[in-house]
Amino acid sequence: MSVGQVRIRVPEKAKAGEVVTVRVLITHPQETLAFKDGKPVARQYNFLHRVEATYNGKKVFEAEMTQAVSQNPLVAFPIKVSEPGTVKVTFFETTGKTYSGEAQIRF
């Protein structure tokens, strides 16, 4: 599977005022520190350090991640929905790349 593939799972149908759980999975190695003589090698490591979610363009969730988040990170978060819409999740890599995915929440 290719790095940066974002998969989002939302309930098939939601009702107004319901709290839905959005589950997001991304394929990513989340590189860990390399050690030499007991000391971490000083170089830039490639991992996701931030994830942000918007619902209909409004920011609803944000998380800060470190290398202590497993590879192929899973993130689940709630949104209280009042209207159908699109949830967009964007991951930020330390190299500056971003990966995003979208899912529809239907009523």
């Binding site: 759980t21 290398q67 192929n72 899973l74 330390t94």
Partner: protein
């Protein structure tokens, strides 16, 4: 009547400055102090003791034990420290005037104890998150919820790790 004249160049400069100011305000919204500053993105950071992490994140504020209000789903024994599923359900208010602002996951024996921080808004409806973390060794895992008014609620759970998962 005398009018003050503004040249085209001055006008453009004013508009530009206003734009910058708006941008600066709308950015630093949800997350206050960063784990990694912009220059050091992805660079290894210094080892940290959990007491120092707590001090850095929360200053001197005390964390109230709240096992009755925060439910943490974590394995008792994690065979593989590289993938440890953690699920947090907090029964704390989520009203616009009082809500769970941040949920921190902190593993005491990791090289850098802060695993992740989740920033929530009242629109989330409830304070419930899940993720997979890495644990270097058998250690206490602290889940701390920070309220919008600064109150801290925490739960500590020990997770036994058979094979560490932080490299090195």
């Amino acid at each position: 009547m005398k009018r003050t004249r503004i040249s085209r160049r001055q006008a453009l400069r004013l508009i530009g400055a206003a734009g910058l100011a708006i941008g600066a305000v709308s950015f630093g919204t949800l997350l206050p102090t960063g784990v990694a500053s912009a220059q050091a993105l992805g660079m290894p950071q210094d080892e940290e003791k959990v007491a120092d992490t707590m001090k850095r994140l929360f200053g001197g504020r005390t964390v109230q034990e709240a096992a009755d209000r925060i439910k943490v789903d974590a394995p008792l024994i994690a065979e593989n420290g590289a993938v440890v599923p953690i699920k947090v359900d907090a029964e704390l208010p989520m009203n616009p005037d009082k809500y769970v602002k941040n949920i921190y996951i902190i593993a005491d024996k990791n090289r850098r104890p802060l695993n992740a921080r989740f920033a929530l808004t009242p629109e989330a409806g409830k304070a419930s998150i899940a993720t997979n973390i890495r644990l270097a060794a058998t250690s206490d895992v602290r889940v701390i919820a920070e309220m919008s008014d600064g109150a801290l609620f925490g739960v500590t759970r020990e997770v036994k790790v058979t094979v560490g998962g932080c490299g090195g």
